[in-house]
Symmetry: C2
Subunit: 371 residues, 2 copies
């Protein structure tokens, strides 16, 4: 693949662009299959009124998801691979394939869309009074509990081979491990942390301020998208998700220079509703496996509760989930190993967009699944 | 000094806050002294119509500056220490003192305000038709040439012991070295590069987009400051100028958490005019010592032209002037040495705000000045 093509796909996958085309759905004919809502390529699971960690209730909550492969008779070939920030289930498909560790011939791979991404319950889809900025704060634990209900109630699943995730979905992998230690055999958080670091919170305050600086945002009550705000949001974000070396080596340049790179970021994020972007951002900022009554805010206790075999995979050059945060977490986990992605693609390395990083990650996942 | 106080001063100096109080002016009674314009603590130098590198002419250009110490009879005890982004001459005073290498008892230290900072010619001070966003692009070479005129025409200076600078003024030190190799004995660029790296350009595109996303910015024709834009600009910037480790170690927290840190950033940048911030930003993005007819865009040739003895001092944890950029430059300079500031304060390390970093830098400068 030419470097420019490689770049385009790297960036596209890394930021979770909804790939309009993509490979055909590989979901097998598992039991309890429901027709897709709206005729899309995904299914939905009605959660009813969902109590949230915050104490609020998300009314008529709905989980969108897509499956790949077939659930076996023992119901024990399950991999959960949630979506990340500004990602949808289609974004994950780059890392699923017969040539990869996440092989749908062998595993039943469930890709749940996280709340706020415009497919599962979101500010843009929820009716009043939980629409727009009135959508309640969703904690990663709320996503995980909803996914747990999907697996147990719809599919009767009791054991999970692996929860794997990138970025915010890597954070969900940590939360899965902490909340359901008897159910989760392995976790593989890629470019994610058990608790969002303070610097990461500050980075997100920046993109949030950029989006909401646009008067057209109007406190979330816009009639049409706040374009200047979304543009600013995207351009700020684009400085963070790669690395200094990525740009130094010219990997940003698909022949159209910096402006082309920034325009692609605008296009990616611009497909999302502004309030949805802010809702997912709030979930990200709230991520903290210790934020559960069981752990009482004690991160060491929560990390110690993750009995799953874990490969924790930061990217060497990630600017907002730097390896150091995982280096601190891993020794506090009983059964975890740090494996640093040797990439200059920064955070993007974990999204599966570059064949090189994708292969490296797949090799680790294969090794983990064999243990 | 308590860590909280230390932090306040670190952040204040690091982002070039205009310190309202500060130590009394130490400028001695040098010859050709002019009364301050407007009764401030600084002097001005009328440049007339100044031809710029771009081919445009900055009309009735004016340089503000402050001096510390006394020019000796041989006129050879000169240090030039320009201002940085969102800095004014008062910002530099933290690093000047009798206990430091930049000792006004020994040296005549000239601190020129860079164009665009609201004291030297700026969008906020220039009359029509060069006001606001019509202010022409100023290249670092234009700042350096104006400063050269100040030194030679007003003070008859022919040799400079040292050009030292932090951030954008570190970039000016590189430009001084390349343009006036017969005049400059030493340079000490701190957290700066000879050419603004692509990633650095992208970071700046982000803060620019954040500021201009505010409808109140109105293409620069605001009647009152675009507050939401300045707020967004500051909050984005605040994610960049420290480091992940800075936040991990809690150095941001002066008792008021992340929000306090962000509020201080807003206060710092909010003292500047929005168009001024954008003008200085354009200068920063344009920084490139090879962008002179003498070098024809060849960076290696331009770096090779810097014969001055140089200590190049990036901060180990700087996110937009990372050490790697200097590591690439230094071997191409005939007489340069890389000295990495061992700090977790990121870019802020170079601003002299923390006593520890200030002492470390001062020690290097003393060593350089002794050579």
């Amino acid at each position: 693949m030419h470097r420019r093509d490689l770049l385009k796909s790297a960036v596209a996958a890394g930021v979770g662009v909804v790939s309009g085309g993509g490979r055909p759905a590989t979901a097998g004919g598992v039991q309890n299959r429901q027709p897709s809502a709206g005729g899309g390529d995904y299914e939905t699971f009605d959660l009813g009124d969902l109590p949230l960690l915050s104490g609020e209730v998300l009314r008529s909550a709905m989980l969108a998801y897509k499956t790949h492969g077939v659930l076996n008779a023992a119901r024990d070939n399950v991999i959960v691979y949630p979506t990340w920030y500004a990602g949808r289930h289609t974004s994950n498909e780059t890392s699923i394939g017969e040539d990869l560790a996440l092989d749908p011939r062998r595993y039943f791979i469930v890709v749940p869309d996280q709340f706020g991404n415009g497919l599962s319950s979101s500010p843009s889809t929820s009716p009043s009074p939980q629409d727009r900025m009135r959508f309640p704060l969703v904690h990663p634990y709320d996503n995980v509990r909803a996914q747990h209900r999907l697996l147990t109630e719809r599919y009767g699943i009791e054991r999970i081979e692996l929860v794997v995730g990138f970025s915010m979905s890597g954070q969900q992998a940590f939360h899965w491990g902490a909340l359901y230690p008897d159910m989760v055999e392995r976790i593989a958080p890629i470019c994610g942390s058990a608790r969002t670091a303070v610097h990461n919170v500050v980075f997100l305050e920046g993109v949030k301020a950029a989006l909401t600086a646009d008067c057209a945002w109007a406190g979330g009550e816009y009639a049409s998208p706040p374009r200047a705000g979304l543009r600013a949001f995207s351009r700020v974000y684009a400085g963070w998700y790669a690395s200094q070396a990525f740009f130094r080596e010219g990997l940003h340049d698909a022949g159209d220079g910096v402006e082309g790179f920034l325009t692609r970021a605008e296009r990616s994020f611009g497909r999302f509703d502004a309030n949805d972007l802010l809702a997912m951002l709030a979930t990200w900022q709230a991520a903290d496996i210790s934020a559960h009554p069981r752990f009482g805010g004690d991160l060491a206790v929560a990390l110690g509760a993750i009995r799953a075999r874990a490969f924790v995979m930061p990217s060497r050059t990630d600017l907002y989930f730097p390896p150091e945060d995982n280096e601190i977490e891993v020794p506090q986990m009983p059964n975890a190993e740090l494996r640093v992605i040797p990439s200059i693609r920064g955070h993007l390395a974990g999204g599966g967009g570059s064949p090189e990083d994708r292969r490296w990650i797949s090799d680790q996942l294969a090794e983990l699944l064999a243990q």
